[in-house]
């Protein structure tokens, strides 16, 4: 029984991280219709900034997380301005390729600045809590609580605040948004900043139980894409549910089927689900 519980816990951890990353991706997709391949690089930069803040400046873990969120939000906002804004009218492949250019730049830039080697982030929550024979690493619990709190906050922001609605409105009709007085450029920058922030927080949450290196984003980003197409691109609940599905599939799949094939499990699941429901689990508009 406790192994099942352990996998369950792990699934929530993975699902939480995946969802946070996928949320940023799906928001940006909704606004600009750009599959932002550089999103994984935002995630990576977030982890590095947090490490540097903790290592170099001796910042506290939470301060480092906020710092990383701010820095990556700025990086993302600048990327929007310099890379995606000029391409807002070009549809299709162009922003995709530009995103790849941005990815190459950020990844090699990180390597030039911080080196290619694996780095570790310390955590103040390294303890292991024991509940009746069940080992629960504190950092994992923290991830679950923090990730789902953040998701709830984001959901409330999008559905309950006017500023949140502007993001959704922009996603559906840019000119229409401008005509009711929404400034599309500002919303685009804001959305990018939020997406960068989510990626940085996810990275800082996850880094203490993982490794930090320039290519670390590539692992997460493919999963994040699987998630948002599973949930329906641009759909916020879809990203959360999709993240959980992949988290559970990987965790239980690796345990009960095979670690060797666990990646295939996630992708095969996607193929099966999309074969049955081509528009994803959440039809766009189910917001």
């Amino acid at each position: 029984m406790d192994v099942v519980l352990q996998q369950f816990l792990n699934a929530l951890t993975l699902g939480g991280i995946y969802s946070l990353v996928a949320l940023g991706l799906t928001l940006v997709y909704g606004i600009l219709q750009v599959p932002n391949f550089a999103h994984g690089a935002f995630y990576m930069v977030g982890a590095f900034i947090a490490i540097k803040l903790m290592g170099g400046w001796g910042a506290n873990y939470w301060v480092a997380m906020v710092g990383a969120a701010i820095v990556v939000a700025v990086v993302a906002a600048i990327s929007e301005r310099l890379v995606f804004h000029p391409l807002r009218k070009a549809s299709g492949l162009h922003p995709m390729i530009a995103a790849i250019g941005l990815l190459l730049f950020l990844e090699s830039g990180a390597q030039a600045l911080w080196g290619a080697e694996f780095q570790r982030m310390a955590t103040p929550y390294s303890g292991i809590l024991e509940f009746g024979g069940l080992a629960l690493p504190a950092q994992r619990l923290l991830i679950i609580v923090a990730a789902f709190t953040l998701m709830l906050a984001l959901h409330l922001f999008l559905t309950r605040t006017v500023t949140g609605s502007t993001i959704i409105a922009m996603a559906q009709n840019r000119e229409g948004a401008a005509l009711v007085g929404i400034d599309p450029d500002r919303v685009a920058i804001m959305t990018f900043a939020i997406s960068g922030m989510l990626a940085a927080v996810a990275a800082t949450l996850y880094a203490p139980i993982n490794l930090v290196y320039p290519a670390m984003g590539n692992l997460v980003i493919t999963k994040a894409f699987v998630i948002i197409i599973l949930g329906g691109m641009g759909s916020v609940p879809g990203a959360i549910l999709g993240g959980l599905i992949i988290g559970f599939a990987e965790s239980f799949g690796a345990f009960y089927i095979s670690t060797d094939y666990k990646d295939i499990i996630a992708f095969a699941l996607l193929v099966v689900i999309l074969s049955l429901r081509p528009q994803g689990l959440f039809v766009q508009g189910a917001r």
Binding site: M96, I97, A116, P278
Partner: protein, 334 residues
């Protein structure tokens, strides 16, 4: 009429340049770069058919290239099948695998199709890596033989290999030109420009898209087979997303939805990266922004920008006040 001759002579000039290249290449290194570029150019031509002409961005393209490469490798290395028979089989196997995968993915549209095929690409990669009894797993296939002689033609030296790749490229470009400039090509373009309307005009969407998909992966499969014969080694990495991205970049740098563009891009970009080798690990710090700038300032690629310029001149000649409109290379995907 004039345009027709211009087109002909332009292509003839290119062919002549290609044929004479070994004479002024100077060394095998340049031949190797060029031969590799040709191999990827063939695959990129295929990618351009489904993406540039039909409007469906297939991100599993490198996966199909890998299928061709592995088919050739496995048949020649493990089953000792003669090279050219294995080569034909590489195309057949790629098409046979492409058919169900294409059918499954083409039910999706736009970015859904792209991301879905990206996942198909990952699956192909994982299968190649995990199915050890067939593919030799992560270790890869080594000792793949080079092309066996056809009559008096031997393919041993780099120059001979170069001409082989060149011949395939010419054939591939010629066939592609025929396809895209025929009624069939128009059908593909119609789907790219608006699939609802195309369907209302009696074009069977699935069948037509699937046809474009199969032809496109055939190019990938055969390019993969040539790759295997050239590098003599294939590992699962051939199927990696990196290769698809590279080909997409070639296509875009040259110009989407033209035959000439992908050729240009596939040749220009590798030379550019070769020239930037001295930057070593910092090369992408420069290359990334360069790519972004290109996409922003030359959205139609080199060939596309040139054609747009000509179209604008032609339009200006017809009507003094012509609205500035982009050339007919509408980007797909949205």
């Amino acid at each position: 009429m004039l345009k027709w001759i211009e087109g002909r002579s332009g292509w003839a000039l290119l062919a002549a340049l290609g044929a004479l290249f070994p004479l002024f290449a100077g060394n095998d290194y340049r031949l190797t770069v060029m031969s590799t570029a040709y191999i990827f150019a063939i695959a990129t031509l295929g990618l351009n058919l489904i993406t540039g002409y039909t409007g469906q961005f297939n991100m599993a393209h490198a996966g199909f290239m890998a299928i061709g490469a592995y088919t050739l490798g496995i048949l020649t290395v493990d089953y000792h099948v003669p090279f050219w028979i294995a080569f034909v089989a590489a195309g057949a196997v790629t098409a046979a695998i492409g058919l169900p995968l294409g059918w499954l993915s083409l039910r999706l549209k736009g970015h859904y199709f792209s991301i879905f095929t990206m996942c198909v690409g990952v699956i192909l990669f994982l299968v190649l890596e995990k199915w050890e009894s067939l593919t030799h797993g992560a270790v890869g296939l080594m000792g793949i033989p080079g092309p066996s002689p056809i009559g008096p033609l031997k393919f041993e030296t780099p120059a001979q290999m170069y001409y082989l790749m060149f011949a395939f490229l010419v054939l591939g470009a010629w066939v592609m030109k025929r396809i895209t400039h025929s009624l069939l090509g128009r059908t593909f373009i119609a789907i790219r420009n608006g699939d609802d309307l195309a369907e209302a005009l009696g074009i069977p969407l699935m069948r037509t898209k699937l046809l474009a998909f199969i032809v496109s992966v055939l190019y990938a499969g055969w390019a993969g087979a040539l790759y295997a014969a050239f590098v003599r080694f294939v590992g699962p990495d051939v199927a990696g997303a990196q290769n698809t991205f590279d080909m997409t970049m070639y296509m875009l740098v040259g110009g989407l939805g033209t035959v000439f563009g992908p050729l240009l891009g596939s040749i220009a970009v590798p030379w550019l990266t070769q020239m930037m080798q001295f930057l070593q690990e910092y090369r992408f710090v420069i290359f990334g922004p360069l790519l972004i700038a290109l996409v922003i300032f030359f959205p139609h690629g080199i060939a596309g920008s040139w054609m747009a310029w000509r179209a604008r001149r032609a339009a200006a000649a017809v009507r003094p006040v012509a609205p500035a409109t982009l050339p007919a290379t509408e980007a797909p995907g949205a």
